[in-house]
Symmetry: C5
Subunit: 82 residues, 5 copies
Protein backbone atom coordinates (compact mmCIF):
# COMPACT_ATOMS: atom_id res chain seq x y z
CA UNK A 1 0.00 0.00 0.00
CA UNK A 2 0.98 3.59 -0.50
CA UNK A 3 0.58 6.71 1.60
CA UNK A 4 0.43 10.27 0.38
CA UNK A 5 -1.15 13.70 0.49
CA UNK A 6 -4.21 14.52 -1.64
CA UNK A 7 -3.24 17.43 -3.92
CA UNK A 8 -6.30 17.83 -6.13
CA UNK A 9 -9.28 16.20 -7.73
CA UNK A 10 -9.86 15.39 -11.37
CA UNK A 11 -13.20 15.94 -13.08
CA UNK A 12 -14.31 13.63 -15.88
CA UNK A 13 -17.84 14.04 -17.22
CA UNK A 14 -17.53 11.53 -20.07
CA UNK A 15 -16.56 8.26 -18.41
CA UNK A 16 -17.50 4.62 -17.95
CA UNK A 17 -21.00 4.27 -16.45
CA UNK A 18 -19.66 2.17 -13.58
CA UNK A 19 -17.42 5.09 -12.53
CA UNK A 20 -20.24 7.65 -12.28
CA UNK A 21 -20.16 9.11 -8.76
CA UNK A 22 -16.47 8.25 -8.23
CA UNK A 23 -14.27 11.03 -6.86
CA UNK A 24 -10.82 10.91 -8.53
CA UNK A 25 -8.06 12.31 -6.34
CA UNK A 26 -4.45 13.04 -7.34
CA UNK A 27 -2.21 11.98 -4.48
CA UNK A 28 1.49 12.84 -3.96
CA UNK A 29 3.26 9.78 -2.56
CA UNK A 30 5.17 10.00 0.74
CA UNK A 31 7.91 7.55 1.71
CA UNK A 32 9.70 7.45 5.05
CA UNK A 33 7.90 10.69 6.07
CA UNK A 34 9.21 12.59 3.05
CA UNK A 35 7.25 13.68 0.00
CA UNK A 36 8.39 12.15 -3.30
CA UNK A 37 7.83 13.36 -6.86
CA UNK A 38 5.54 10.37 -7.58
CA UNK A 39 1.80 10.83 -8.05
CA UNK A 40 -1.14 8.44 -8.40
CA UNK A 41 -4.82 8.94 -9.11
CA UNK A 42 -7.08 7.08 -6.68
CA UNK A 43 -10.83 6.88 -6.09
CA UNK A 44 -11.90 8.03 -2.63
CA UNK A 45 -13.86 5.54 -0.48
CA UNK A 46 -13.57 7.16 2.96
CA UNK A 47 -14.56 10.81 2.50
CA UNK A 48 -11.01 12.19 2.36
CA UNK A 49 -10.33 15.76 1.21
CA UNK A 50 -7.53 17.84 -0.31
CA UNK A 51 -4.52 18.14 2.02
CA UNK A 52 -5.29 15.02 4.02
CA UNK A 53 -2.79 12.17 4.32
CA UNK A 54 -4.24 8.87 3.12
CA UNK A 55 -3.58 5.18 2.57
CA UNK A 56 -4.06 3.79 -0.95
CA UNK A 57 -4.56 0.22 -2.10
CA UNK A 58 -3.61 -0.53 -5.71
CA UNK A 59 -4.30 -3.30 -8.21
CA UNK A 60 -7.31 -5.58 -8.35
CA UNK A 61 -7.57 -5.53 -4.53
CA UNK A 62 -8.53 -1.87 -4.74
CA UNK A 63 -11.94 -2.70 -6.16
CA UNK A 64 -12.92 -4.53 -2.98
CA UNK A 65 -13.10 -1.13 -1.27
CA UNK A 66 -15.80 0.17 -3.62
CA UNK A 67 -19.58 -0.35 -3.47
CA UNK A 68 -19.42 -1.44 -7.11
CA UNK A 69 -16.67 -4.06 -7.03
CA UNK A 70 -16.86 -4.48 -10.81
CA UNK A 71 -15.89 -0.86 -11.51
CA UNK A 72 -12.66 -0.58 -13.54
CA UNK A 73 -10.62 0.91 -10.69
CA UNK A 74 -6.96 0.15 -9.87
CA UNK A 75 -6.29 2.52 -6.95
CA UNK A 76 -8.60 3.41 -4.06
CA UNK A 77 -8.13 5.54 -0.93
CA UNK A 78 -8.92 3.13 1.91
CA UNK A 79 -7.93 5.10 5.03
CA UNK A 80 -7.01 8.52 6.41
CA UNK A 81 -3.75 8.68 8.38
CA UNK A 82 -4.20 10.14 11.90
CA UNK B 1 -5.15 5.22 -12.15
CA UNK B 2 -3.15 7.31 -14.54
CA UNK B 3 -3.90 10.44 -16.53
CA UNK B 4 -2.29 11.54 -19.74
CA UNK B 5 -2.60 12.97 -23.24
CA UNK B 6 -3.30 10.68 -26.21
CA UNK B 7 -0.37 11.10 -28.64
CA UNK B 8 -1.12 8.54 -31.33
CA UNK B 9 -2.75 5.25 -32.21
CA UNK B 10 -1.13 1.95 -33.04
CA UNK B 11 -2.35 -0.30 -35.82
CA UNK B 12 -2.05 -4.07 -35.52
CA UNK B 13 -3.70 -6.19 -38.20
CA UNK B 14 -2.36 -9.54 -36.98
CA UNK B 15 -3.58 -9.83 -33.40
CA UNK B 16 -5.53 -11.96 -30.96
CA UNK B 17 -9.13 -12.48 -32.15
CA UNK B 18 -10.51 -11.10 -28.90
CA UNK B 19 -8.74 -7.79 -29.59
CA UNK B 20 -10.27 -7.25 -33.04
CA UNK B 21 -12.00 -3.87 -33.03
CA UNK B 22 -9.87 -2.51 -30.16
CA UNK B 23 -8.36 0.96 -30.66
CA UNK B 24 -4.82 1.04 -29.19
CA UNK B 25 -3.78 4.51 -28.08
CA UNK B 26 -0.32 5.65 -26.98
CA UNK B 27 -0.74 7.99 -24.03
CA UNK B 28 1.87 10.33 -22.50
CA UNK B 29 1.49 10.28 -18.72
CA UNK B 30 0.89 13.53 -16.83
CA UNK B 31 1.63 13.92 -13.10
CA UNK B 32 0.84 16.97 -11.00
CA UNK B 33 -0.25 18.84 -14.16
CA UNK B 34 3.11 18.28 -15.86
CA UNK B 35 3.87 15.93 -18.74
CA UNK B 36 6.35 13.16 -17.96
CA UNK B 37 8.48 11.06 -20.32
CA UNK B 38 6.45 7.93 -19.49
CA UNK B 39 4.12 6.36 -22.04
CA UNK B 40 1.54 3.58 -21.91
CA UNK B 41 -0.59 1.89 -24.55
CA UNK B 42 -4.26 1.67 -23.60
CA UNK B 43 -7.43 0.50 -25.33
CA UNK B 44 -10.07 3.19 -25.73
CA UNK B 45 -13.52 2.53 -24.21
CA UNK B 46 -15.02 6.03 -24.22
CA UNK B 47 -14.47 7.41 -27.73
CA UNK B 48 -11.40 9.50 -26.90
CA UNK B 49 -9.23 11.00 -29.65
CA UNK B 50 -5.67 12.20 -30.18
CA UNK B 51 -4.82 15.24 -28.06
CA UNK B 52 -7.48 14.59 -25.42
CA UNK B 53 -6.60 14.17 -21.74
CA UNK B 54 -7.81 10.85 -20.37
CA UNK B 55 -7.98 8.61 -17.31
CA UNK B 56 -6.52 5.10 -17.61
CA UNK B 57 -7.12 2.03 -15.48
CA UNK B 58 -4.38 -0.62 -15.51
CA UNK B 59 -4.07 -4.27 -14.52
CA UNK B 60 -6.82 -6.87 -14.46
CA UNK B 61 -9.37 -4.21 -13.45
CA UNK B 62 -8.96 -2.65 -16.88
CA UNK B 63 -10.80 -5.50 -18.56
CA UNK B 64 -14.00 -4.64 -16.69
CA UNK B 65 -14.28 -1.55 -18.88
CA UNK B 66 -14.44 -3.57 -22.11
CA UNK B 67 -17.44 -5.27 -23.74
CA UNK B 68 -15.35 -8.43 -23.94
CA UNK B 69 -14.10 -8.79 -20.38
CA UNK B 70 -11.98 -11.79 -21.33
CA UNK B 71 -9.86 -9.84 -23.83
CA UNK B 72 -6.15 -9.86 -22.89
CA UNK B 73 -6.03 -6.15 -22.02
CA UNK B 74 -4.07 -4.55 -19.17
CA UNK B 75 -4.76 -0.83 -19.74
CA UNK B 76 -8.01 0.84 -20.79
CA UNK B 77 -9.03 4.48 -21.19
CA UNK B 78 -12.05 4.83 -18.88
CA UNK B 79 -12.72 8.59 -18.89
CA UNK B 80 -11.98 11.90 -20.59
CA UNK B 81 -10.78 14.70 -18.30
CA UNK B 82 -12.92 17.89 -18.56
CA UNK C 1 8.40 -11.00 -3.11
CA UNK C 2 10.26 -8.29 -1.31
CA UNK C 3 12.36 -8.24 1.82
CA UNK C 4 13.01 -5.30 4.09
CA UNK C 5 13.27 -3.85 7.58
CA UNK C 6 10.17 -2.55 9.39
CA UNK C 7 10.79 1.14 10.16
CA UNK C 8 7.50 2.26 11.68
CA UNK C 9 3.77 1.77 11.83
CA UNK C 10 1.00 3.97 10.48
CA UNK C 11 -2.17 4.71 12.41
CA UNK C 12 -5.44 5.24 10.57
CA UNK C 13 -8.60 5.56 12.63
CA UNK C 14 -10.94 6.41 9.75
CA UNK C 15 -10.61 3.52 7.34
CA UNK C 16 -12.51 0.82 5.44
CA UNK C 17 -14.38 -1.49 7.85
CA UNK C 18 -12.65 -4.55 6.42
CA UNK C 19 -9.27 -3.09 7.45
CA UNK C 20 -10.18 -2.57 11.12
CA UNK C 21 -7.60 -4.43 13.20
CA UNK C 22 -4.95 -4.35 10.46
CA UNK C 23 -1.46 -3.22 11.52
CA UNK C 24 0.08 -1.07 8.75
CA UNK C 25 3.88 -1.22 8.74
CA UNK C 26 6.26 0.95 6.71
CA UNK C 27 9.07 -1.27 5.44
CA UNK C 28 12.42 -0.19 3.93
CA UNK C 29 13.26 -2.53 1.06
CA UNK C 30 16.57 -4.44 1.07
CA UNK C 31 18.14 -5.86 -2.10
CA UNK C 32 21.25 -8.00 -2.26
CA UNK C 33 21.78 -7.43 1.50
CA UNK C 34 21.82 -3.66 1.11
CA UNK C 35 19.14 -1.21 2.16
CA UNK C 36 17.57 0.78 -0.67
CA UNK C 37 15.67 4.07 -0.57
CA UNK C 38 12.42 2.31 -1.52
CA UNK C 39 9.58 1.93 0.99
CA UNK C 40 6.29 0.03 0.99
CA UNK C 41 3.39 -0.13 3.44
CA UNK C 42 2.33 -3.68 4.27
CA UNK C 43 -0.18 -5.26 6.65
CA UNK C 44 1.40 -7.58 9.22
CA UNK C 45 0.15 -11.20 9.32
CA UNK C 46 2.89 -12.86 11.37
CA UNK C 47 3.37 -10.69 14.48
CA UNK C 48 6.44 -8.81 13.21
CA UNK C 49 7.74 -5.70 14.98
CA UNK C 50 9.77 -2.58 14.24
CA UNK C 51 13.39 -3.39 13.35
CA UNK C 52 12.68 -6.94 12.20
CA UNK C 53 13.56 -8.12 8.69
CA UNK C 54 10.53 -9.48 6.85
CA UNK C 55 9.24 -11.00 3.61
CA UNK C 56 6.40 -9.20 1.83
CA UNK C 57 3.97 -10.47 -0.78
CA UNK C 58 2.38 -7.85 -3.05
CA UNK C 59 -0.59 -7.68 -5.40
CA UNK C 60 -3.79 -9.70 -5.20
CA UNK C 61 -1.87 -12.70 -3.81
CA UNK C 62 -1.24 -10.71 -0.64
CA UNK C 63 -4.86 -11.00 0.44
CA UNK C 64 -4.54 -14.78 0.74
CA UNK C 65 -2.39 -14.21 3.82
CA UNK C 66 -5.15 -12.37 5.69
CA UNK C 67 -8.04 -13.80 7.73
CA UNK C 68 -10.35 -11.58 5.70
CA UNK C 69 -9.34 -12.39 2.13
CA UNK C 70 -11.71 -9.75 0.78
CA UNK C 71 -9.96 -6.87 2.56
CA UNK C 72 -8.59 -4.28 0.09
CA UNK C 73 -4.92 -5.07 0.78
CA UNK C 74 -2.10 -5.15 -1.77
CA UNK C 75 0.95 -5.89 0.42
CA UNK C 76 1.19 -8.24 3.41
CA UNK C 77 4.11 -9.30 5.62
CA UNK C 78 4.12 -13.11 5.28
CA UNK C 79 7.35 -14.12 7.05
CA UNK C 80 10.15 -12.99 9.35
CA UNK C 81 13.69 -13.55 8.04
CA UNK C 82 15.86 -15.57 10.47
CA UNK D 1 0.07 -2.55 -22.81
CA UNK D 2 3.59 -2.27 -24.07
CA UNK D 3 5.12 -2.20 -27.53
CA UNK D 4 8.61 -3.22 -28.49
CA UNK D 5 10.95 -5.04 -30.84
CA UNK D 6 11.67 -8.76 -30.39
CA UNK D 7 15.44 -9.11 -29.86
CA UNK D 8 15.88 -12.81 -29.13
CA UNK D 9 14.34 -15.95 -27.76
CA UNK D 10 15.15 -17.80 -24.56
CA UNK D 11 15.39 -21.58 -24.37
CA UNK D 12 14.39 -23.40 -21.19
CA UNK D 13 14.29 -27.19 -21.28
CA UNK D 14 13.57 -27.69 -17.58
CA UNK D 15 10.38 -25.79 -16.91
CA UNK D 16 6.84 -26.03 -15.57
CA UNK D 17 4.82 -28.61 -17.54
CA UNK D 18 2.15 -26.03 -18.35
CA UNK D 19 4.79 -23.93 -20.16
CA UNK D 20 5.96 -26.71 -22.49
CA UNK D 21 5.61 -25.44 -26.06
CA UNK D 22 5.75 -21.78 -25.05
CA UNK D 23 8.10 -19.54 -27.04
CA UNK D 24 9.82 -17.05 -24.70
CA UNK D 25 10.83 -13.84 -26.47
CA UNK D 26 12.98 -11.01 -25.09
CA UNK D 27 11.46 -7.73 -26.20
CA UNK D 28 13.05 -4.26 -26.10
CA UNK D 29 10.40 -1.72 -25.11
CA UNK D 30 9.66 1.26 -27.36
CA UNK D 31 7.98 4.45 -26.10
CA UNK D 32 6.92 7.40 -28.23
CA UNK D 33 8.61 5.76 -31.26
CA UNK D 34 11.98 5.54 -29.52
CA UNK D 35 13.69 2.45 -28.17
CA UNK D 36 14.27 2.40 -24.41
CA UNK D 37 16.73 0.37 -22.35
CA UNK D 38 13.88 -1.63 -20.79
CA UNK D 39 13.34 -5.29 -21.66
CA UNK D 40 10.62 -7.83 -20.89
CA UNK D 41 10.25 -11.54 -21.57
CA UNK D 42 6.90 -12.44 -23.13
CA UNK D 43 5.34 -15.61 -24.51
CA UNK D 44 4.38 -15.40 -28.18
CA UNK D 45 0.72 -16.05 -29.09
CA UNK D 46 0.57 -14.66 -32.63
CA UNK D 47 3.54 -16.16 -34.49
CA UNK D 48 5.84 -13.16 -34.17
CA UNK D 49 9.56 -13.41 -34.98
CA UNK D 50 12.83 -11.69 -34.11
CA UNK D 51 12.94 -8.08 -35.34
CA UNK D 52 9.17 -7.63 -35.47
CA UNK D 53 7.41 -4.89 -33.52
CA UNK D 54 4.76 -6.27 -31.19
CA UNK D 55 2.13 -5.44 -28.59
CA UNK D 56 2.44 -7.08 -25.17
CA UNK D 57 -0.17 -7.56 -22.46
CA UNK D 58 1.14 -7.99 -18.90
CA UNK D 59 -0.23 -9.25 -15.61
CA UNK D 60 -2.99 -11.79 -15.08
CA UNK D 61 -4.78 -10.56 -18.23
CA UNK D 62 -1.91 -11.96 -20.30
CA UNK D 63 -2.99 -15.52 -19.63
CA UNK D 64 -6.26 -14.97 -21.47
CA UNK D 65 -4.26 -14.88 -24.70
CA UNK D 66 -2.92 -18.42 -24.23
CA UNK D 67 -4.56 -21.76 -25.09
CA UNK D 68 -3.77 -22.87 -21.55
CA UNK D 69 -5.16 -20.04 -19.47
CA UNK D 70 -3.83 -21.60 -16.27
CA UNK D 71 -0.20 -21.43 -17.40
CA UNK D 72 1.93 -19.28 -15.04
CA UNK D 73 2.50 -16.49 -17.57
CA UNK D 74 2.59 -12.76 -16.83
CA UNK D 75 3.45 -11.29 -20.27
CA UNK D 76 2.17 -12.39 -23.69
CA UNK D 77 2.66 -11.00 -27.20
CA UNK D 78 -0.91 -10.33 -28.41
CA UNK D 79 -0.38 -8.47 -31.69
CA UNK D 80 2.13 -7.49 -34.37
CA UNK D 81 2.33 -3.77 -35.16
CA UNK D 82 1.80 -3.00 -38.88
CA UNK E 1 8.43 -12.57 -17.23
CA UNK E 2 11.88 -11.90 -15.89
CA UNK E 3 15.18 -13.72 -16.18
CA UNK E 4 18.06 -13.63 -13.76
CA UNK E 5 20.75 -15.42 -11.79
CA UNK E 6 19.98 -16.94 -8.38
CA UNK E 7 22.33 -15.25 -5.87
CA UNK E 8 21.20 -16.70 -2.54
CA UNK E 9 18.36 -18.11 -0.52
CA UNK E 10 16.46 -16.57 2.35
CA UNK E 11 15.49 -18.50 5.45
CA UNK E 12 12.29 -17.66 7.32
CA UNK E 13 11.22 -19.93 10.15
CA UNK E 14 8.27 -17.84 11.32
CA UNK E 15 6.02 -17.54 8.28
CA UNK E 16 2.53 -18.12 6.94
CA UNK E 17 1.56 -21.81 7.20
CA UNK E 18 0.82 -21.98 3.47
CA UNK E 19 4.45 -21.04 2.75
CA UNK E 20 6.00 -23.84 4.82
CA UNK E 21 8.30 -25.82 2.53
CA UNK E 22 8.78 -22.93 0.08
CA UNK E 23 12.35 -22.13 -0.96
CA UNK E 24 12.83 -18.35 -1.24
CA UNK E 25 15.55 -17.39 -3.70
CA UNK E 26 17.04 -13.93 -4.26
CA UNK E 27 17.51 -13.44 -8.00
CA UNK E 28 19.56 -10.75 -9.78
CA UNK E 29 17.67 -9.63 -12.88
CA UNK E 30 19.34 -9.84 -16.30
CA UNK E 31 18.20 -7.77 -19.30
CA UNK E 32 19.53 -8.02 -22.83
CA UNK E 33 22.22 -10.47 -21.58
CA UNK E 34 23.54 -8.00 -19.01
CA UNK E 35 23.13 -8.14 -15.26
CA UNK E 36 21.19 -5.23 -13.72
CA UNK E 37 21.16 -3.94 -10.14
CA UNK E 38 17.55 -5.10 -9.68
CA UNK E 39 16.71 -8.04 -7.42
CA UNK E 40 13.54 -10.02 -6.72
CA UNK E 41 12.70 -12.80 -4.27
CA UNK E 42 10.97 -15.76 -5.90
CA UNK E 43 9.81 -19.18 -4.74
CA UNK E 44 11.46 -22.07 -6.58
CA UNK E 45 9.16 -24.56 -8.37
CA UNK E 46 11.65 -26.35 -10.64
CA UNK E 47 14.58 -27.39 -8.43
CA UNK E 48 16.88 -24.50 -9.38
CA UNK E 49 20.04 -23.74 -7.39
CA UNK E 50 22.36 -20.83 -6.65
CA UNK E 51 24.20 -19.61 -9.76
CA UNK E 52 21.62 -20.93 -12.23
CA UNK E 53 19.86 -18.66 -14.71
CA UNK E 54 16.10 -18.84 -14.36
CA UNK E 55 12.77 -17.55 -15.66
CA UNK E 56 10.42 -15.91 -13.15
CA UNK E 57 6.68 -15.28 -13.38
CA UNK E 58 5.31 -12.46 -11.21
CA UNK E 59 1.91 -11.37 -9.96
CA UNK E 60 -1.12 -13.54 -9.36
CA UNK E 61 -0.14 -15.80 -12.29
CA UNK E 62 2.86 -16.93 -10.26
CA UNK E 63 0.68 -18.94 -7.89
CA UNK E 64 -0.41 -21.23 -10.71
CA UNK E 65 3.09 -22.71 -10.67
CA UNK E 66 2.82 -23.87 -7.05
CA UNK E 67 1.24 -27.04 -5.63
CA UNK E 68 -0.69 -24.83 -3.23
CA UNK E 69 -2.23 -22.26 -5.56
CA UNK E 70 -3.67 -20.35 -2.61
CA UNK E 71 -0.25 -19.61 -1.09
CA UNK E 72 0.42 -15.84 -0.84
CA UNK E 73 3.18 -15.83 -3.47
CA UNK E 74 3.81 -13.13 -6.08
CA UNK E 75 6.96 -14.42 -7.81
CA UNK E 76 7.85 -18.00 -8.73
CA UNK E 77 10.79 -19.53 -10.64
CA UNK E 78 9.09 -21.43 -13.49
CA UNK E 79 12.04 -22.51 -15.66
CA UNK E 80 15.82 -22.88 -15.87
CA UNK E 81 17.46 -21.22 -18.89
CA UNK E 82 19.60 -23.65 -20.94
Amino acid sequence: MLRGIIRGNIVSTRKQDSLVGSKFMEVQIKENDELTDKYIIAIDSVGAGIGEEVLITTGSSARLALHNTSAPADAVIVGIVD
